[in-house]
C-alpha cells in the first residue's frame, strides 16, 4: 500500500511519514505543492494525504487536477481551519475525507486504513470471528467460547467496529463518531464507560483479553492474544 503525503510543514510531514511507515505503509513525501502535483499525477498511489494550505500550488488544485484526469485515488485532506466552507469545498471537489488540525495520529491512521480498505473488500460476510469470539451480523448474536452473550444494540455496533478494525488503535472520537454519530469532542468519559461495559461482558469472564487500552490514544482489539 503506497501513500503520498503532500505537506509543507517539515515536522508534521516527517512524523507522519515515520508513523505511517511504522504502521506498515509505503510513504512518498512531497514538501511543496509543485512536487505534490507532479507525484500525484505521475505516480500510482493507493491514497493521497493532502494539506490544503500550501505555499505554491494549493491542495485544492492538486485535488482538482487529479479528478479532472479521472484519477479516483482516495484523497484525505488536512485543513487548519475548522471551517464548514473548507469541508464543503473539499468534499465537493471529490475528496473522500478530511481531518482538522490539530488531529490525533491514531485518528489519522484509523481513517487512512478505512480509506485504503474502501472498495477493496466488499463487506458481505455475515460472520466475524476473532479468536473464540463470534459475531453473527445477520442474527445480531454474539458468542464467545460457545457461550451466548447479550449485548445492547450500541454494544454490538461497538464490538463490530472494533473487530472490523482489529489490531488498529481506535481513538475515542472515532468510536463516538462511528457508533453514536457524535461528531464532537466530548469532555466526558462516555467512551471509557462504554468500553468498560463491553469488556465486562466479552472479556472479563474469558481469557485471553481482547480489548486493550492504548494509553493516550484509544482502544484496540488485539487478535495476537498476548497480554
Amino acid at each position: 500500500m503506497k501513500i503520498l503525503i503532500v505537506e509543507d510543514e517539515a515536522k508534521i510531514s516527517e512524523y507522519l511519514r515515520q508513523g505511517l511507515t511504522e504502521a506498515g505503509l509505503m510513504v512518498d513525501l512531497a514538501r511543496n505543492g509543485l512536487d505534490g502535483h507532479h507525484f500525484a499525477m505521475t505516480g500510482s498511489y493507493d491514497l493521497v494525504i493532502l494539506d490544503v494550505l500550501l505555499p505554491d500550488v494549493d491542495g485544492w488544485r492538486i485535488l482538482q487536477a487529479l479528478r479532472e484526469a479521472g484519477n479516483k485515488v482516495p484523497v484525505l485532506f488536512l485543513t487548519a481551519r475548522d471551517s464548514v466552507d473548507d469541508r464543503v469545498k473539499g468534499l465537493e471537489l471529490g475528496a473522500d475525507d478530511y481531518l482538522v488540525k490539530p488531529f490525533a495520529f491514531a485518528e489519522l491512521l484509523a481513517r487512512v486504513r478505512t480509506l485504503l480498505r474502501r472498495g477493496a473488500v466488499p463487506a458481505t460476510e455475515t460472520m466475524l470471528r476473532v479468536a473464540d469470539l463470534e459475531l453473527d451480523l445477520m442474527r445480531r448474536r454474539v458468542t464467545r467460547a460457545g457461550q451466548r452473550i447479550q449485548l445492547t444494540a450500541k454494544e454490538f455496533a461497538l464490538l463490530e467496529l472494533m473487530i472490523r478494525h482489529h489490531d488498529e488503535v481506535l481513538p475515542r472520537s472515532l468510536i463516538a463518531s462511528q457508533v453514536w454519530d457524535m461528531n464532537f469532542d466530548s469532555d466526558t468519559n462516555v467512551i471509557d464507560v462504554a468500553i468498560r461495559r463491553l469488556r465486562s461482558k466479552i472479556d472479563d469472564p474469558f481469557e485471553p483479553k481482547l480489548i486493550h487500552t492504548v494509553r493516550g490514544m484509544g482502544y484496540m482489539l488485539e487478535t495476537s492474544g498476548e497480554g
Binding site: P102, A104, N183, F184, T188, N189, R197, R215, G216
Partner: protein
C-alpha cells in the same frame, strides 16, 4: 449603491424656517395695514363728496327760477365754501353746462359717465393728468323749465392721498424686509448658540479613549432635549466597555488556561531530561504529555468553533431538526455514563426547529453532559421539549443538584467560567461547554436562560421555529450529488 445626499445643515434649516415664517407673518400684516389705510382715505373722500352732493341736490331740486343763473351760481358757490378741494359741475339734459366751479374741467367726466347714470356713482377719473375721485348723480326734480334732469359731477383730487399711500407702502415693505432679515439673523445666532451644548458634548466624546470607556456624560449637565442622547450614548459606552473588558479578560483567560498545561509539560520534560531514565519512564512521561496536548487541542478546537459561530452567525446547513430524535440519540450516547453514576435520563414532549443539526445536537449534548455531571447519585436529568402555538420552541434541561448562587448565574455562559475556582481542572473539560451552547443558540436566533432554585438547576432555551435571522440554504449546491 447610490450615495445618499447629506441632509441640510440644522442651522440653515432653522434659519430658513425662521425667515420664511417671519416673511409670511409680516407680509400678511403689511397687506392688512395698507388695505385698511387705503380704504380709510377712500371713505373720507367719498363722505366729503356726498355732503356736497346732498346739498347741491337739495338746492337744485328746490330751485324754482331756472332763469336766475346768477343766483344759482351764487348758491352753488356757497355750497362749495369750506370744501376748497372739491369742484362741482352741473350739466343739463342737452349737455349744456349749467354750472362749473373754478378749477378742473369736469365736463369730460360727465360725458364719459353718459346719460345712463341712475342714482349715485363714485369712481376714480383721470382728468388732465390728475387723479380725482368723482361722484356723479342725477337730479330729476328740477323746475320744469330748467331743461332737466341735471347731472351732477362732484370731484376732489386725491393725488396727495395717493402719494402718501405710495410712500407709506414703500416704507412698510422696507420695514417688513428689514424685520425678516433681522429675525433670520437672530434665529441663526440663536441656533448657533443652542448648538453650543452639542459642540461641548462632541468635545467631551472626543476626549474619551479606549482606555477610559468607563467615563460617561452626566445627563443632568446637558440640555433637556439632549438627555436622551447622553443616556443612549452612556449605554453604548457601557456595552462597549463590557465588550472591551470581556475581550481583554478573554485574552488573559486564554493565557492562563494555556499556562497551566505548558508549565506541566515543561516541568515534566525538564525533570525527565535531567538524568537518564528507563524506557518505561520515558513512555510514562510521553503519555502524561499526551494528555496535556489533548486538552490543549480540545481547547483550541472549541475556541475556533466559538470564534466561528460568533463571527459568522449565519447558519448554512439548515434543515428541519426533530429535537426529540436528537435527544434520544444523545441519551443513547450518555446512557452508560449516566447509568454508572446512578442517574436517570427522561424526555418529555416534542419539538421541531429548523437549524443546523450538528450544532443543535452539540448544544443539547453539552447541556446534557453538564447536567449529568452536576447531578447527585440517584437523581434524574429531565429534558422537556415544548412547541407553543406561536411557533416558539422551548427546550428545558433540568437537573437536581446544589443550588448555584445567583451571582454566578449570568456568568455561567462566559468562557472559562468556573464556579468553584479550586476545582479548576477537574473533569469539567476546558470550561467552554456552556459558552458554546450559548453561541449556537444565539446563532439560531434563540435565547438561553438559567435558573437555580430549590435544589434544581434549569437551563431553558427559547428557539423560534424559523428564525428570521437565518439564511436560506444555498441554492447553488442543490445540483451536486
Amino acid at each position: 449603491m447610490r450615495r445618499m445626499r447629506r441632509p441640510l445643515s440644522l442651522t440653515l434649516r432653522l434659519t430658513l424656517l425662521f425667515g420664511v415664517t417671519a416673511a409670511i407673518v409680516f407680509a400678511v400684516f403689511g397687506w392688512i395695514i395698507s388695505q385698511s389705510t387705503e380704504r380709510h382715505f377712500a371713505a373720507e373722500d367719498t363722505s366729503e363728496l356726498e355732503i356736497i352732493a346732498r346739498a347741491a341736490h337739495d338746492m337744485l331740486s328746490g330751485f324754482r327760477t331756472p332763469g336766475d343763473v346768477t343766483q344759482l351760481k351764487q348758491r352753488l358757490d356757497d355750497i362749495l365754501v369750506g370744501h376748497h378741494n372739491a369742484s362741482l359741475y352741473v350739466v343739463n339734459k342737452d349737455g349744456q353746462t349749467v354750472y362749473a366751479s373754478p378749477g378742473p374741467d369736469l365736463s369730460a367726466i360727465a360725458t364719459a359717465a353718459g346719460r345712463e347714470t341712475e342714482g349715485k356713482v363714485v369712481n376714480q377719473w383721470q382728468v388732465a393728468n390728475h387723479t380725482y375721485t368723482a361722484l356723479i348723480q342725477l337730479v330729476r326734480e328740477v323746475a320744469p323749465a330748467a331743461n332737466g334732469p341735471y347731472t351732477l359731477v362732484i370731484a376732489a383730487p386725491i393725488e396727495a392721498h395717493l402719494h402718501f399711500l405710495a410712500a407709506f407702502r414703500r416704507t412698510l415693505w422696507f420695514m417688513i424686509a428689514s424685520c425678516v432679515a433681522i429675525v433670520s439673523l437672530l434665529g441663526w445666532v440663536a441656533v448657533r448658540q443652542s448648538h453650543a451644548p452639542l459642540h461641548d458634548i462632541v468635545a467631551r466624546i472626543r476626549r474619551i479613549s479606549a482606555n477610559e470607556l468607563n467615563t460617561h456624560l452626566p445627563p443632568e449637565t446637558v440640555p433637556y432635549e439632549l438627555t436622551e442622547l447622553a443616556v443612549s450614548f452612556n449605554e453604548m459606552l457601557q456595552r462597549m466597555d463590557a465588550a472591551f473588558h470581556r475581550l481583554s479578560d478573554l485574552n488573559s483567560d486564554i493565557a492562563h488556561e494555556l499556562r497551566t498545561p505548558i508549565t506541566n509539560l515543561m516541568t515534566q520534560t525538564q525533570v525527565a531530561l535531567s538524568r537518564a531514565r528507563t524506557i518505561d519512564e520515558y513512555r510514562e512521561i510521553l503519555y502524561s504529555n499526551m494528555e496535556e496536548y489533548e486538552r490543549m487541542a480540545q481547547m483550541v478546537g472549541d475556541m475556533l468553533l466559538l470564534a466561528q459561530t460568533d463571527n459568522h452567525p449565519q447558519i448554512k446547513n439548515i434543515e428541519e431538526v426533530n429535537l426529540a430524535d436528537e435527544a434520544h440519540a444523545l441519551f443513547e450516547y450518555y446512557d452508560g455514563w449516566a447509568e454508572e453514576r446512578g442517574i436517570a435520563l427522561t424526555l418529555e414532549g416534542v419539538a421541531t426547529v429548523s437549524g443546523d443539526r450538528l450544532m443543535l445536537r452539540r448544544a443539547l449534548g453539552n447541556l446534557l453532559s453538564n447536567a449529568i455531571r452536576h447531578t447527585p447519585v440517584g437523581g434524574t436529568v429531565r429534558v422537556k421539549l415544548d412547541t407553543s402555538t406561536a411557533g416558539n420552541n422551548s427546550i428545558v434541561v433540568e437537573n437536581p443538584g446544589p443550588e448555584i448562587p445567583s451571582e454566578h448565574l449570568p456568568k455561567l455562559f462566559d468562557r472559562f467560567y468556573r464556579i468553584d475556582l479550586s476545582r479548576q481542572r477537574g473533569g469539567d473539560g476546558v470550561g467552554l461547554g456552556l459558552a458554546i451552547v450559548k453561541s449556537i443558540v444565539t446563532a439560531h436566533g434563540g435565547k438561553i436562560d438559567v435558573a437555580s432554585a430549590e435544589g434544581c438547576t434549569r437551563f431553558q432555551i427559547a428557539l423560534r421555529k424559523r428564525p428570521a435571522s437565518m439564511r436560506r440554504p444555498r441554492q447553488d449546491r442543490a445540483g451536486d450529488s
